[in-house]
């Protein structure tokens, strides 16, 4: 076992140490904290590159693709709990991605947070997050992974609520934390179940691991009460954790709110790395996901994978639809993140690890790029986030515009030159060949269209036309925690420390596409642990070319539509209503004159979209929030359920029903008078009853 494998723990350890040290730093010591965080991240990146090339060489020399290092953590009785880390292509790729993007975002943050007085705290949290995330990636034990997973959740909570003075931020942080808890609970149950089944939580332990043949077979063999295989049940439980963490329907509600945090955080945590952790988790436990009974061994896709696919596909379209109707620049990106995550899940479901992971990697780069660009825009416009109030930034912030455009094209999947195209194309191709159903394929295609559309809309609003910022200055006099620096009325290009990362990321967003083309499926092979070969003929394999053509066509349609609606003529003023929300007669006329498909479009799609947005919004507000609350107020659970239902009725307008329900709630809550002795008395009675019951049970 080589040095790098034995000392892989150094990679997360370094940022962790940095976090610890900078937590001791005083508020004033900005340079110290920042340099510490960035330095540690840089070293971590170097180590990650070592690891990466180690894996490459071992693959090309036909060596083992996966090396693990286990150690026994604590001894209880005769048994012992083992933790460990592993180095395999998946880990290596994720390591490089995280530490690289993380490093760039750290550098960017020094510029973005320059005016915040809690600078050191910010970097302490960031480093802690990086440490936890790297820990997730290298973990070879589901337990270790879970610990780091929770740590990641915690840091996300801390960073969303970084500006805790804002009630919105605090609420968002709480929401994110609690919502993900729901998924994590399922995850925990699944983990415990897995342990009880396989007796270990190590993934790979020389044949004894829980992701290896024997354990899988053992789990496939049994079946639960509902008749489903134990492996399926566990896989679904774990998937629930992934759903919570990477914002799939129905647990996506927290992700848009998470944008209350500082933009670098949104970029690092809620676009590039943490939300991808769910996808990574699924990829990590893929053996379990694809575990199939001998009976149905013939059929390619397992129940759990089908669930993953469907959830992913639905999420992709669902979030994309919402994104079309948003006005906050960051929320648009957030919803697009959700939908892209849906793509990844779908890719995992239909096409296996490589497809999903490839999209994860490319998405990490261009979405980080987009967020940082948005951050730069916000920074330049003095914390203005409403795209109606921007515009004309193309001239004022040229670098930002260029990089943002690249990112946007990559996200839309603009053909041939951008990484997003190849990864999304791979997913679509896999979806098309999926044996179970074609519907995910169509959903994905539709999602791609929408993606192109709303990104175009956003870019038009933000960068084209003439600036509407001056008037917005009147509207928003210092939003929330606007850092106090001289407010030049005109937006300005951000400092180099912020634009450099943008440029680098943009370069990556273009170049990364190369490693995943059908002609040279280097990434795919890498994850499967084989060297890759260049072969142009693969383009002409079944369906590849057609799918490519189709998707690029979709992209062009989307871009075209977007441009048609928004870019063609500059938006008049900040208060001018959205072009598509049919409030403007001339756009109506134009559309009608154009071709009547658009009217159909108007009548069905936009209404549907608005309605769907409302419905989902309503869902967010009542159902899922209600659930979250119910969990949080366990003591008043019953009465709270009553409350949320009666609120639901209020929405529909049945007041008397609501009143009765509320009375019921109050009644129930009266059981909780704060008298300790009453509780104690109840305990005593319960004890007596229990004893009597047991004795009689025993005598029978």
């Amino acid at each position: 076992m080589t040095w790098i494998v034995r000392n892989l723990w150094l990679i997360p350890a370094l940022p962790a140490v940095a976090a610890g040290l900078s937590s001791l730093a005083k508020q004033g010591q900005r340079k110290f904290a920042a340099s510490l965080a960035i330095g540690s991240m840089g070293v971590a990146l170097v180590f990650s590159l070592f690891a990466f090339f180690h894996v490459l060489s071992s693959i090309h020399s036909g060596g083992p693709a996966r090396e693990v290092f286990d150690f026994s953590w604590l001894q209880y009785g005769s048994d012992s709990l083992k933790l460990g880390w592993m180095l395999d292509p998946l880990t290596a790729v994720m390591l490089v991605m995280i530490s690289f993007v993380g490093l760039l975002i750290f550098i960017y943050s020094t510029g973005y947070m320059a005016h915040d007085e809690n600078f050191t705290r910010f970097f302490c949290f960031l480093s802690l997050f990086a440490a936890a995330m790297l820990g997730v990636v290298i973990a070879n034990s589901l337990l270790l992974l879970f610990m780091c997973w929770e740590l990641v959740g915690l840091t996300s909570y801390l960073l969303i609520g970084f500006w805790y003075q804002r009630p919105a931020a605090a609420a968002a942080a709480k929401k994110a934390f609690i919502t993900t808890r729901i998924g994590d609970l399922a995850f925990l149950i699944g983990m415990v179940w897995l342990y009880s089944q396989s007796g270990t939580l190590l993934f790979y332990d020389g044949g004894a691991g829980c992701m290896e043949q024997s354990a899988i077979a053992h789990m496939v063999a049994q079946s639960t009460a509902a008749g489903m295989m134990v492996s399926t049940a566990i896989a679904l439980l774990i998937f629930a954790g992934a759903v919570g963490k990477s914002g799939q329907v129905p647990l996506h509600v927290w992700l848009p709110d998470a944008m209350e945090g500082p933009t670098p955080v949104s970029a690092l945590i809620h676009a590039a790395t943490m939300v991808a952790a769910g996808v990574f988790l699924i990829a990590r436990v893929y053996p379990l996901m694809s575990a199939n009974g001998e009976i149905r061994a013939a059929m390619s896709s397992t129940t759990q994978l089908q669930v993953v696919t469907w959830v992913g596909a639905i999420t992709a379209v669902f979030a994309a639809l919402i994104a079309v109707a948003q006005n906050d620049i960051k929320r648009i990106l957030a919803y697009s993140t959700v939908s892209q995550l849906g793509y990844m899940m779908m890719g995992l479901g239909v096409g296996g690890v490589a497809v999903g992971m490839f999209h994860l990697i490319t998405h990490a780069f261009f979405k980080a790029l987009l967020f940082l660009g948005a951050g730069s825009v916000i920074h330049g416009c003095h914390d203005e986030q409403d795209i109606h109030r921007m515009g004309g930034l193309k001239k004022l912030m040229p670098i930002t515009f260029a990089t943002y455009a690249i990112g946007m094209l990559a996200l839309c999947g603009f053909p041939l030159f951008f990484s997003g195209f190849w990864s999304k194309d791979a997913i679509l191709h896999a979806a098309q060949e999926w044996s179970v159903s074609r519907v995910p394929f169509y959903l994905g295609a539709f999602g791609a269209l929408l993606t192109a559309f709303y990104m175009t809309r956003q870019v038009c609003y933000v960068f084209f036309g003439e600036s509407r910022l001056s008037e917005s200055m009147r509207h928003s006099n210092g939003a929330g925690s606007a850092p106090l620096y001289e407010r030049s009325a005109t937006p300005h290009e951000s400092p180099a420390v912020m634009t450099m990362p943008l440029i680098i990321l943009a370069a990556c967003a273009i170049l990364l596409g190369i490693i995943g083309t059908p002609a040279w499926p280097w990434f795919d092979r890498l994850l499967n642990g084989q060297p890759a070969t260049v072969d142009g003929s693969r383009f002409y394999e079944a369906g590849v070319l057609s799918v490519m053509l189709l998707s690029s066509a979709i992209v062009f349609v989307g871009l075209g539509l977007g441009w048609w609606f928004y870019g063609r003529k500059p938006i008049a003023s900040a208060d001018a209503p959205d072009a598509v929300e049919e409030l403007q007669p001339q756009i109506f006329r134009v559309l009608r004159n154009k071709f009547y498909v658009d009217e159909l479009y108007q009548a069905t799609f936009l209404r549907f979209n608005a309605w769907l947005a409302q419905v989902s919004d309503w869902f967010d507000r009542w159902i899922w929030n209600g659930a979250v609350r119910a969990v949080s107020y366990l003591v008043l659970g019953l009465s709270w359920v009553a409350r949320s239902t009666d609120a639901y009725v209020v929405n529909r307008g049945f007041d008397e029903g609501c009143k009765s329900a509320r009375d019921g709630g109050r009644l129930l809550s009266h059981m909780q008078d704060g008298r300790t002795q009453n509780y104690l008395r109840v305990v005593g009675v319960a004890f007596a009853v229990l004893v009597v019951f047991l004795i009689w049970g025993g005598s029978r």
Partner: protein, 103 residues
């Protein structure tokens, strides 16, 4: 009659007395005392079962009591700290008047 039953009866009586104190009195400190008493009753049971149990060599009951004494010390410290804090805020230790948790 120092037999197992004797110990059990004694511990039952102690438990009941402690419970009475914890339930009937209104002073928070005395409630805490009652709880301590109940704890000791439980300890007595452990010792008794260790002493008359199948294999005293295992020392399990004894160990349990040692640990429970340690935990009881911690519990007393924290409980009294809480009571003092309560007193500092409400100027009373009468738990009839401490019911701000009522739903």
């Amino acid at each position: 009659m120092t037999s197992l039953a004797g110990c059990l009866l004694l511990s039952a009586i102690l438990f009941a007395v402690g419970l009475a104190g914890a339930l009937v009195r209104r002073s928070a400190i005395l409630v805490l005392i009652g709880i301590e008493l109940m704890l000791n009753a439980a300890n007595l049971n452990f010792i008794a079962f260790w002493r008359y149990g199948p294999n005293p060599e295992a020392l399990t009951g004894m160990m349990f009591v040692i640990f429970s004494i340690g935990v009881a010390a911690a519990e007393a410290a924290v409980g009294l700290a809480l009571i003092i804090f309560l007193y500092r805020n409400k100027r009373t230790t009468d738990i009839d008047r401490v019911n701000s948790m009522r739903g």
